[in-house]
Structure formats: C-alpha cells, structure tokens
C-alpha cells in the first residue's frame, strides 16, 4: 500500500515536471498557444532582410507581438510579413511599420509607429506604409568606395 502511494506521488511529480517544461517551451518558443489574445496583421516591404519568424513587434519600445511568417509575393517580388499584435493594442489605419535593428549589428525587429487616423486596422489588414531594411553595408560602401557612376569633382581652377 505504502509502495503504491509513493509511486503515485512520484508519478504526479513527474507529470507536473513535464507540464512545466512543456509550458516553458511554448512560452519561450512559439508562444502561440499561450498568447491567444492576439490578432494578425500583414506589412508589405520592398526588403525585409534579417526579419524572421519570432522577431519582436514593438510599439514605443514595448513588445506587443511577434513575426509569424515572411513570404515573397511573386507578383511584384515584395516581401509580405505576417505578424501578431496583442488584442488590446489598436493601431490606427495610417500606422507605419519599419524594420529596425537593435544597435548597429543586433537583431532585427518590427517597429510600429501608430498614426493619427480615426479608423483602426482590422485583423488581417495589410500595412503598406512601411520602411524597409536600410542596407548599411551598401550605404557605407557607396560613400567609402565611391559610386561607379560618380563623375569627377570639378577641380579648383582658381
């Protein structure tokens, strides 16, 4: 009798441990099962380089959601980013989505700047007012090494 009671206690303890690990895995990983109070939005970019599923979605520096999917629109080769936002965060229709970087070489995240429109984005809406990834490397190389089309500067003919 004592033996079976001990086994039962151990079994319950093991099950509780498995449940805790599963909860942590969901919370840290996908998080979709525990974060059901969200709605889906999309944003169209000409270049979404560096943004991946799982990247943070931020408003005023506060995480409010996460990137779910990044796909290519074959019609115009634009990038469509699908992301979730907390249901209590209502975004005006003229909100701007920008891809930003934590520091100079940090992770990319999706920053949302709410606009002034009286209407709000409905679930599934597409944000077209976006700022794509700024390609720092190409900008630096253009200014550091010059441009292939650059004309010679006029020499001082004084």
């Amino acid at each position: 009798m004592k033996q079976s009671k001990l086994e039962l206690i151990v079994g319950v303890f093991v099950l509780a441990g498995i449940a805790a690990v599963a909860y942590l895995a969901l919370k840290i990983g996908a998080g979709t099962l525990v974060g059901a109070d969200t709605y889906m939005l999309k944003a169209r970019f000409t270049n979404s380089g560096g943004l991946n599923p799982g990247s943070n979605v931020i408003v005023s520096g506060v995480p409010v959601g996460r990137v779910e999917k990044v796909t290519l629109n074959p019609a115009d080769y634009s990038s469509v980013v699908e992301f979730t936002v907390r249901k209590d965060v209502k975004l005006p229709a003229d909100s701007i989505a920008s891809i930003k970087t934590t520091g100079l070489i940090g992770d990319k995240f999706l920053a949302l700047a709410p606009g002034g429109d009286a209407q709000f984005l409905a679930a599934g809406a597409l944000i077209t007012d976006t700022e794509s990834t700024v390609d720092l490397e190409s900008l630096i190389s253009r200014f550091a090494f010059g441009n292939v089309d650059q004309k010679p500067k006029p020499t001082d003919s004084k």
Binding site: R44, T46, N47, D76, S78, P92, D94, I96, S98, A113, P114, G115, G116, D117, A118, L126, T128, D129, E131, S132, T133, V134, D135, L139, R142, N147, D149, Q150, K151
Partner: protein
C-alpha cells in the same frame, strides 16, 4: 419564387452593382506617374529657371507643391496618434506651420547645380484592396550619385497627390513622426505647435 429562376436575376443584379461600383471608383483622368512627372517638371522649372528671382525658393515653389502634395494628410500622419486630440483650430494651425516647415527645410537645402536626371519606374499598387493608393519608384541621378526615391500617392478626385516620400528607404513621414510624437507626449498639442513655431523662427542651417 423558385430559387432557380431567381438566380439569373441575382447574378444580373450583382453584375450591375459591380459595374456601378467600378464606375464610381473610376480611374482618375491622369495616371499617377503622369502627375508625378508634371509635378517634378514644374518644380524643377521654378527652381532652375528662376535663379535670378529675388523671392526665396520656398515661396516660389509653394503653389506648385500645394497642388501636388497633400499637406493636410502629411501633417496628420507626421504628428501621429496625438492628432486626434488636437482641436480643429490646432489642426489648422499645425497644418499651416508644418507645411511651411517642410517646404522651407527642403527648399533651403537646394543648391543650384546640374539638373538631376530622373528615371521613372512602373507604378506599384501596394494593396489590391486599396486601388486609390500607388507607389511610384524613381531613381534620381544627381551630382554623380544615384538615389532611390519612392513617392507614395493617393487618389484625389481626378488626379493624385503625394502623401509621403521615401528616400533611400527612409520615410519622410516616419522621420517627422519620430520627432513630433515625443513632443506631443510631453506637452500635448500646444507643445507641438510651439515647437513648429520655434523651428520656423530659427534661421536655416545649410
């Protein structure tokens, strides 16, 4: 009524409704890229042909820019979420001041040099459900360097008007919003208006 006999009527009615909707949302008489070309040509003509004029460039180009740019929309978008808390008088005042600031900022940085070459690419409809919006990608060749400039335009009556300009991936609206929204958070609409007035009172630094 027999549902089968009703079906053709329903289809015809739907087709008629769709045709009527299309007629209402008819394409503007002017294509978006034609409007942009006209705007660029007009502004460049003023900038380059009036070099001897004594009036500042900002004043000379203002009528042309007001014709092609929707400054009311630009101001609303630039101020961001605080806009809804502005009174109508504050909105009107902010629009006037912000229009002055934008035109002055860019006009006073203009330097007469070689005329820029502009290549217009095909217009893009960013969202099929919003046919009143277009993106007009261009490449500007100026002083030996090429710059990517995208104009975002919206349908306005039988033409189009610009509501944002993206230069090398950086949005003009997003840039102004990131500056004006914190000012609103600190001091509300009066602070935004005071900030615009203060900025306009300062001499331009080139």
């Amino acid at each position: 009524m027999n549902p089968r006999s009703f079906l053709p009527f329903a289809c015809a009615a739907s087709a008629f409704a769709a045709a009527a909707a299309l007629a209402v949302a008819a394409e503007p008489a002017v294509e978006a890229h034609e409007m942009l070309k006209s705007a660029v040509d007009e502004v460049l003509a003023i900038a380059y042909d009036g070099q001897t004029a004594t009036t500042p460039l900002a004043l000379r180009v203002r009528p042309a820019l007001e014709k092609y740019f929707n400054f009311a929309t630009i101001t609303r978008r630039a101020i961001g979420p605080g806009w809804r808390q502005f009174t109508p008088e504050q909105q009107a005042r902010a629009t006037t001041l912000f229009t002055d600031l934008v035109i002055r900022t860019y006009a006073d940085r203009f330097e007469v040099g070689n005329r820029p070459g502009i290549t217009y690419s095909k217009a893009v409809i960013p969202d099929a459900t919003k046919p009143m919006l277009r993106e007009l990608p261009t490449t500007i060749d100026y002083a030996g360097k090429k710059y990517s400039v995208i104009y975002r335009v919206e349908q306005a009556g039988d033409s189009w008007r610009v509501y944002d300009v993206i230069i090398e991936g950086v949005s003009m609206i997003a840039n102004w919003r990131s500056q004006l929204d914190p000012i609103f958070q600190k001091g509300g609409a009066p602070a935004v208006i005071a900030s615009l007035e203060k900025n306009l009172a300062q001499p331009v630094v080139k």
